[in-house]
Symmetry: C2
Subunit: 364 residues, 2 copies
């Protein structure tokens, strides 16, 4: 089963995991560290899994410099389940949702089930390109909100804050599904950070929640499901019930890999190099176009459009033949999208650019 | 990494998967069917994962003969999340919970957050042994319940109905986490069947919900989280958000394996043979004891007690040295527990009995 060519997966998520992680996981799939057992069938309360779980948490704490007064939770499901859990736990009066794309909108819709939400559309059109509004234009919203929710990177639109908002700092709640571990962050600015695992962390079906402990004690309604109650989850070290053990283990391997590569500073450096290369190519080639204003461009998800959209199908078909997979844009946006998460090697971006260049020449 | 001895995992869950499934999954871990990609990083909306997902559902439908007017959902998280979802979706007036152990009690506690629950403790002591009460003793509870919830097999106590209750047939809601796919069932008797995957289906972090379609249209409060709303899940083919794709794939491999072995009839036959052998050994040996009345004994989870409990630690230690893992009983029960799910080969039970026999002789 040796691969005869390199294959790169540009999917927005589930996304590729680092090659080294995949090979290690495969090698120990049926027999972890000579136990004769797979991590898949470890009891979550046994000593082997406990060690795996604790190390994963500690490595994540090290990577993001998470202060000791924050809990780290490994929750079942993806970020969409947290869209519900967050207002169920913390919405008492009203909350501000600053939205820059589809996922912020979805989080808002879910939160509106549970109380009063002030939603700001923080996107604008800037000379035909999409951009994040300058904060001055919506700072009048500042008020006594329970929390301020935003999405630092929007996977579908390919929009990312170059500088985070300042409103409500300290009671920020951020969906970092598509940018966590791609750069250093100051965790203390946030009340809660959450992320579905399937982009920069590990497999789908797990989400990470980092929450300041003083928020765990806030009173909440008796109708919060136990699995969505952050206080219950924290008290039980994320093992109120059987957690997604294998996903947790793989996340731990990814954390180890990031550490070995040089940490989130190195991930940030690589993300900048990868994304700059692709944006520069797109901007310099009149065959392709990226619809986002430069200051609001995502380092993780790069949508691009062929100026002749009738070539979309043949582009995708030929890309696949070159081992460049899942480049089709989200159905709500169309065109193409290249997701360049931590696990994407620079060689993958170079292969994509080389293919795009050749395709443009041949189809001009 | 070839194993030099056989290792058997008696954990109650996460539990061992069939050896053949593990080997296949390992072999195609980094390259599924020559795609050069892992199932782990398939987009859940791509054609490869769609085929995997659809086949898994069809195989489960075939195995359990699920009628076409039932939906099959692949949900994130374990059964405990469904403890909340079920009353959130279906509890309007009141529901009956017939409880035979810890998990039924937990389901009840969660349901009580959302409305009026009549809970029946259907366990009794029968000459020092635990037994399920005869239904005649609680049939007076029959009334106009929204649904009747029970747990056909209780993992912790090792208690299983030899014949299901008859009360409320048609509006049964059953937690089959530890017995699904271990015998034929008549799905039409149930409004909803649910099961955490990590015992007889696949890895932790996934649960299966089988629900009659006419129940999906019942009105429910606007405050049900989307991911816990069975109607939303069904309309989106369990892909309202990114599902736990790898767990879904492994579940599919297990379904294929069960089919190849001869289906749930064959699983039932093997479960009977496995469990009978162990109960017969325990009953015939005055060194060990099983605290459940014969008619209420589980085929899946067999707790047993060493009459001299001071030997517990040395028993567990020596069992591990013989490759017999995770035999420690649940902390609420003590003693030992051998879980014998579908993936446990007969040779595992025989190895356990041989060890227990030898241990008894040496420590009498």
């Amino acid at each position: 089963m040796t691969q005869t060519r390199s294959v790169y997966n540009f999917s927005a998520g589930p996304a590729m995991l680092p090659r080294e992680v995949m090979l290690q996981a495969q090698q120990e799939f049926c027999d972890w560290h000579g136990t004769g057992l797979s991590v898949l069938d470890f009891s979550h309360r046994g000593k082997d899994f406990t060690a795996i779980a604790e190390r994963a948490e500690q490595d994540l704490r090290d990577l993001l410099k998470i202060p000791s007064d924050y809990s780290v939770l490994f929750c079942p499901g993806g970020a969409s389940l947290q869209f519900s859990a967050i207002p169920m736990n913390f919405l008492r009066s009203k909350a501000l949702y600053i939205n820059t794309g589809v996922w912020g909108d979805k989080a808002t819709q879910e939160a509106q089930k549970f109380g009063d939400i002030v939603a700001v559309d923080a996107l604008t059109e800037d000379q035909g390109n999409t951009a994040i509004l300058d904060e001055a234009q919506w700072s009048q919203y500042e008020d006594d909100f329970d929390y301020v929710h935003f999405t630092p990177n929007e996977t579908i639109g390919g929009v990312e804050y170059s500088a985070l908002p300042t409103i409500g700092k300290g009671k920020w709640v951020a969906d970092m599904s598509s940018c966590i571990l791609s750069q250093p962050i100051n965790v203390s600015d946030f009340a809660l950070i959450y992320a579905g695992a399937q982009k920069n962390i590990g497999p789908a079906g797990l989400s990470i929640v980092i929450v300041r402990n003083d928020w765990l004690d806030r009173p909440r309604p008796a109708t919060v499901p136990s699995l969505l109650d952050y206080s219950v989850m924290a008290k039980n070290q994320s093992m109120y019930n059987t957690p997604p053990t294998y996903a947790w283990y793989l996340a731990g391997l990814v954390f180890q890999w990031i550490k070995a590569q040089g940490g989130v500073e190195e991930m940030a450096e690589r993300a900048n190099i990868r994304s700059r290369a692709l944006y520069q190519f797109i901007d310099s080639n009149d065959f392709y176009r990226n619809p986002i204003a430069p200051l609001s461009r995502s380092r993780m998800n790069i949508p691009f459009i062929l100026n002749d959209e009738s070539l979309n199908d043949v582009f995708l078909q030929q890309a696949e033949q070159h081992g460049l997979m899942y480049l089709k844009g989200h159905r709500s946006v169309g065109g193409m999208r290249a997701s360049l998460y931590n696990a994407m090697p620079q060689a993958g971006v170079e292969a994509l650019i080389a293919f795009m260049d050749k395709f443009a020449e041949q189809n001009r």
